[in-house]
């Protein structure tokens, strides 16, 4: 009798011991992070890959990202590179650019169609005015001011997507209006993350990895048959719960557009960085919206588009994009889900 009891106890010990061991033997992921691309933090976590030499491969990916960053940059000039800043600086003239830039711009124009004008890469004339105010306010909060309404209205006359001419044959782009300017902020990071993820999967042999380009998360594969768990950040950073919920992401992208990411304050009021093309002022419909969908560039564009429309309108719009799901965080902290979102929720 005693023997039997003892056997039971010992078996339990062994089982628990084995379970404990299993959790230890799960391979430790390898990580790398970079601060020199897309003016943000880019992180790479690789859980499984074909072959070895993680650091060498990570560095190859890093160089890819540097290339994308330099080409898509609208703020800096690089020697020997015609990038988007070159195009903006030479508005009115045709500029020969890398085919990747043509791809990005064509993708941007297609997003204008798809989002009914909510995402507009020709919105630069308006966005530069907000960007200048934000930069100035962050440098000297006492001098914080808003852009002049009249200046915004005037700038908005130079934002039609038809002002961009793309000549595939000649490999050139031209802004036909000297006042027009490109701003790819709503799509570039997500688009670059998509390109980088494809490169990492096809050329570097990453089979289970997460690439995070400043909050544009792109999952390669999954994690041992389970989706990666991704926390949706609480817009209220001081709150005890850092994540409002966690979602499962495999072979796809997740991205959040939120009013807490980049903003400045004037007279105690917060002005976030995402500008509503209808009002020319920061959108205030929701605090944040997170989009899950296979393509990281589309996820990036959709999160911006949904951020600048009321929830109900966004809910209806999303029905035209069946591969995407979204969660909105409203001003009172409550959550709204698109009908297909709940299947992604882990906790």
């Amino acid at each position: 009798m005693h023997r039997r009891l003892l056997c039971g106890v010992l078996t339990l010990c062994l089982v628990f011991g084995a379970v404990g061991c299993a959790s230890f033997t799960a391979a430790t992921p390898q990580k790398a992070s970079w601060l020199d691309v897309f003016d943000t933090v880019t992180g790479l976590t690789v859980y499984r890959m074909d072959g070895t030499d993680f650091y060498e491969k990570a560095e190859q990916l890093h160089h890819r990202l540097i290339d994308y960053h330099r080409l898509f940059d609208i703020y800096h000039t690089y020697e020997g590179v015609n990038n988007l800043k070159t195009v903006n600086d030479n508005a009115g003239k045709a500029v020969a650019v890398d085919p990747l830039i043509l791809d990005l711009l064509e993708y941007g124009l297609s997003m204008y169609e798809r989002t009914d004008g909510r995402v507009n890469i020709l919105f630069g004339a308006v966005l530069t005015r907000w960007h200048a105010c934000r930069t100035a306010a962050l440098a000297d909060p006492s001098a914080a001011r808003l852009p002049q309404e009249a200046a915004l209205q005037e700038a908005n006359r130079h934002t039609a997507p038809s002002l961009l001419e793309i000549d595939r044959g000649a490999g050139t782009v031209r802004l036909t209006d000297p006042q027009a300017s490109l701003d790819v902020g709503a799509i570039a990071k997500g688009y670059a993350a998509e390109l980088a993820a494809a490169y990492a999967a096809e050329e570097l042999g990453f089979t289970s990895a997460l690439l995070d380009v400043g909050g544009n998360l792109r999952a390669i594969g999954d994690k041992g048959g389970q989706p990666f768990s991704v926390g949706v950040k609480n817009p209220d950073a001081d709150a005890a719960r850092p994540y409002l919920l966690t979602v499962g992401v495999a072979n796809g992208a997740a991205v959040t557009s939120g009013d807490y990411q980049r903003y400045f304050e004037v007279d105690g009021r917060r002005y976030a960085h995402i500008i509503d093309p209808d009002t020319l002022y920061p959108a205030t419909y929701v605090r944040a919206v997170t989009v899950l969908c296979p393509h990281s560039g589309l996820a990036d564009a959709l999160s911006t588009a949904l951020f600048v429309m009321p929830v109900e309108e966004g809910m209806a719009f999303l029905q035209t994009v069946p591969e995407a799901a979204a969660v909105w965080v409203l001003a009172d902290g409550s959550l709204r889900y698109s009908p297909n979102f709940e299947s992604y929720i882990l906790a």
Partner: protein
């Protein structure tokens, strides 16, 4: 012959128990530290307090009773309560995900909650 087998059994048993205890200890030590305590009263959410912030709060329990919760050095403990048994007051300080302090007479439950372990965040 019989005696020696028994002897071997004892060593085996001792070994298995020792390994199990060791694993248990290591797992416990590695258990994730919580980031906050969530307080419920009579099953309903009452408040959440971050473990990173030292504080002392009086929690209103049922029937006019109360518990005094103190958070210090990343640990939460109940230092005083109106309950007759004082079990919650004698409970050691909690700080690891899932640990709880219960004051049954006041229907107060203090649970350590952690940042869920995530692979990424957006």
């Amino acid at each position: 012959m019989k005696a020696s087998r028994k002897n071997g059994d004892v060593w085996l048993i001792a070994g298995v128990v020792a390994v199990a205890l060791l694993l248990f200890a290591v797992l416990w030590l590695l258990a994730e530290r919580g980031t906050a305590v969530a307080v419920t009263v009579d099953g309903k959410p009452y408040a959440t307090y971050p473990l990173s912030q030292n504080t002392e709060v009086k929690i209103a329990g049922v029937d006019g009773g109360s518990c005094t919760l103190v958070i210090a050095d990343g640990q939460a403990t109940v230092v005083a309560a109106t309950c007759p048994d004082g079990i919650c007051v004698r409970h050691r300080a909690v700080s690891r995900g899932g640990e709880t302090i219960v004051c049954l007479p006041n229907r107060v439950v203090v649970t350590v909650v952690g940042a869920p372990a995530v692979d990424g965040e957006v």
